[in-house]
C-alpha cells in the first residue's frame, strides 16, 4: 500500500499538469486502498497547500491554481456521497465580487474552500457595497470573502466595512486578489479582517476568525 506522501506527490503532479484522467485514477486508487474520506481530504488539503505556497512563491500559475481547485472540488464532490459524509459545521460564509465581473478569483476560492469542507454561498459578481451588505444580512453571514481584480473594486471594500460598522453587524471581511497582493497595506486600509494571498490562506483565515 502506498504511503500518504506518495499520493500527495502524485496528485500534485497530476493537478499541475491539469491531467483529469490521472487525477481521477489517483482518487479512485486512494478510495479503494484506504476507504476513508478523511484520508482523501488530508491528501487534497496537503496538495492544495503546496500549490498555494507555490503560487505565493511565483512557481505555480493562476491557471494551475484554478484548474487544481476545479478538479479537486469535482472529485471530492463525487466521493462525498460514497461516505455519507456531512460537511463540517461551517460558519455562514458568502463570497462576492464588487463592481466588476471578473470572477476567476471567486471561482478559485470557492473551489478550494469547498474542497476543504466548508459551505459557501455565492453572492455573485458586479455587486455594489450596499447590495453585498444586504445579501450578507439576508443570509445571516458570519464571514464575507471579497475577491478583487481591479483597484476601484478593492477600494470599495472600505464602504462595505463602514456599512457593517454603522449597522453594528458581526460580520468579518476577508479580501484577496491582485490589488491586495500588489499593495501589502491595502487590506488594512480598507478595513478588512484578513487578506488571503492564496486560496489556501483563506481556509486558515476562516479557521482563525471563527
Amino acid at each position: 500500500m502506498k504511503e500518504k506522501n506518495a499520493y500527495v506527490d502524485d496528485l500534485k503532479n497530476a493537478l499541475l499538469g491539469v491531467d483529469r484522467i490521472k487525477t481521477s485514477e489517483i482518487f479512485s486508487e486512494v478510495f479503494s486502498q484506504y476507504n476513508s474520506f478523511e484520508f482523501i481530504e488530508e491528501i487534497v488539503m496537503d496538495v492544495l497547500k503546496q500549490i498555494g505556497d507555490g503560487w505565493e512563491k511565483g512557481e505555480v500559475s493562476l491557471a494551475q491554481v484554478y484548474m487544481s481547485g476545479v478538479l479537486c472540488e469535482k472529485f471530492i464532490n463525487e466521493y462525498i456521497p460514497k461516505f455519507k459524509f456531512s460537511k463540517k459545521n461551517s460558519p455562514k460564509i458568502g463570497i462576492a465580487v464588487l463592481l466588476d465581473k471578473h470572477s476567476l478569483g471567486k471561482s478559485i476560492v470557492s473551489s478550494i474552500v469547498s474542497a476543504a469542507g466548508y459551505e459557501l454561498k455565492d453572492l455573485g459578481s458586479g455587486l455594489t457595497p450596499k447590495s453585498l451588505v444586504d445579501l450578507a444580512k439576508r443570509n445571516k453571514l458570519d464571514i464575507i470573502l471579497i475577491s478583487s481584480l481591479m483597484l476601484p473594486s478593492a477600494m470599495k471594500v472600505r464602504e462595505v466595512y463602514r456599512m457593517i460598522k454603522d449597522e453594528n453587524l458581526d460580520i468579518k471581511i476577508i479580501v484577496g486578489g491582485a490589488p491586495f497582493r500588489l499593495d501589502d497595506q491595502l487590506w488594512k486600509m480598507v478595513g478588512a479582517d484578513g487578506r488571503g494571498k492564496s486560496a489556501y490562506d483563506v481556509i486558515e483565515l476562516i479557521e482563525r476568525l471563527v
Binding site: A63, S103, L104, M155
Partner: protein, 347 residues
C-alpha cells in the same frame, strides 16, 4: 534632445541625455479634463487634447493612444461597462459556446466606429507632434483577448481541453490583431504595445505558454509592420524573458515583482525594459518614497540605456494623485541624467 530621439536612443541601448519617462496615461486624461471616463472616451478630440497636455505637464516622453482594453470587445459587438472611478470593463462574454467560436467574425477595422475613434486620435496626434514624440498604439494579444471574449474560466478550459477550437479562435484573433496593429501604424503610431498578460508565468505556466501564447505571439508580431513592445500588465516576465525575446519584440513591460538586477542582466542589449513602478502602491506614495523608487530603478536598470521608466501595469490608475506624477517626473529629471552618478542610486 527631443522625446523621440531620447526614446530611440534608449531602445538602441545607448545613453541619451536622460532616462526616458513613458508614463502610460490613458483614462487619467478624464481626471485632467475633469469629465467622466465615459464622456472622456466618447470623443477622440478629448484624447488628443489631453495627451498633448499631459505630455507637457509631466515631461512625458510618449503619447499613448490607448483608450481601454474593452474597446476591441466593443468593436466586436460586445458590451462595455463604464464606471466612474476605473477603466471601462467588458460585460457579458460574446463567446459562450464552441459554435460561437465557429460563427465569430472579426470586425472590419477601418469601418468600425469604435476603432475609428482611436485611428482618428492617432492621426491627429501624429499631425501635431510629427517626429518629436513617439506615439504608442495598443492591441490586446490574440492570446489574452479571449479572457474578455469568453470569460477567464471558460477560456482556461478551452486552452487545456479543446485544442481545435482554441486554434480556430487564435486564427481569427491573430488576423484581427494584425489588421488592427497595422491600421494604427498607418495612422501614425510609432510602435505597438502588445498587451499579453496571460503569457506571464503568474497567469499561465511556462510550458503551456510555450505551446500556446508564445507561438501565437511569434506568428502575430511577425506580421505587424513596425516595432512592438510586449507588456505583461503587472505579471512577472523574468522566467520567460528569453522566450519573449524570441518572439521578435523590442520592448518588454515588466513587473514590480520582477527582480530588477536579474532582469536587467538578462535584458541587457537584447530587449529594452519598460517599467516597473507599482501603480497600485503609487496611490499613497509620498515624495521620499517616489525618490527612493526612481533612484532604485535608475541605479539598477538605467546603465547603458535600454530602460523606459513607466508604471508596471500599462495604465496609471485614476486614484494616483497628480502630485505623485509630478514628483515622479521631477525625480526622473533630477536623477536620470546620463552619465549616471554612482551615488544617486543609494537607497
Amino acid at each position: 534632445m527631443n522625446s523621440f530621439d531620447r526614446v530611440m536612443s534608449s531602445l538602441s541601448f545607448k545613453e541619451p541625455d536622460r532616462v526616458p519617462l513613458c508614463l502610460l496615461l490613458s483614462l487619467y486624461g478624464a481626471k485632467e479634463m475633469n469629465v467622466s471616463v465615459k464622456e472622456y472616451f466618447s470623443k477622440w478630440e478629448n484624447i488628443v487634447e489631453m495627451q498633448l497636455k499631459m505630455k507637457e505637464k509631466y515631461s512625458n516622453d510618449c503619447i499613448y493612444t490607448f483608450f481601454y482594453a474593452a474597446i476591441e470587445i466593443e468593436a466586436m459587438g460586445g458590451e462595455v461597462i463604464f464606471s466612474p472611478d476605473g477603466p471601462p470593463n467588458s460585460g457579458e462574454p460574446i463567446i459562450k459556446t464552441n459554435k460561437d467560436i465557429e460563427r465569430f467574425e472579426i470586425p472590419k477595422v477601418k469601418e468600425n466606429k469604435h476603432l475609428g475613434k482611436v485611428l482618428k486620435a492617432t492621426k491627429e496626434l501624429k499631425s501635431k507632434v510629427g517626429n518629436e514624440v513617439p506615439i504608442i498604439g495598443v492591441v490586446m494579444s490574440p492570446y489574452s483577448l479571449p479572457v474578455m471574449q469568453m470569460g477567464f474560466e471558460k477560456y482556461l478550459n478551452l486552452i487545456y481541453f479543446n485544442p481545435n477550437h482554441f486554434d480556430l479562435l487564435m486564427k481569427k484573433n491573430e488576423e484581427f490583431c494584425v489588421q488592427w496593429a497595422n491600421a494604427q501604424l498607418e495612422a501614425g503610431a510609432t510602435a505597438i504595445c502588445y498587451f499579453d498578460p496571460l503569457s506571464s508565468p503568474n497567469i499561465i505556466e511556462p510550458h503551456t505558454y510555450l505551446e500556446t501564447g508564445h507561438k501565437v505571439a511569434k506568428r502575430t508580431l511577425g506580421k505587424i509592420n513596425g516595432a512592438t513592445a510586449t507588456h505583461l500588465a503587472s505579471g512577472i516576465a523574468l522566467p520567460v524573458i528569453d522566450d519573449i525575446i524570441k518572439t521578435g519584440t523590442q520592448v518588454l513591460g515588466f513587473s514590480s515583482s520582477d527582480d530588477l538586477d536579474m532582469i536587467k542582466r538578462e535584458a541587457k542589449d537584447r530587449i529594452c525594459l519598460l517599467g516597473n513602478l507599482n501603480g497600485i502602491e503609487m496611490v499613497h506614495w509620498d515624495k521620499p518614497k517616489v525618490e527612493k523608487e526612481i533612484k532604485k530603478l535608475i541605479k539598477k536598470a538605467g546603465k547603458g540605456g535600454g530602460l523606459l521608466i513607466s508604471d508596471n501595469h500599462g495604465e496609471i490608475p485614476l486614484q494616483v494623485p497628480e502630485r505623485v506624477l509630478l514628483e515622479i517626473s521631477e525625480a526622473v529629471r533630477k536623477y536620470g541624467k546620463y552619465p549616471l552618478k554612482e551615488d544617486d542610486g543609494n537607497e
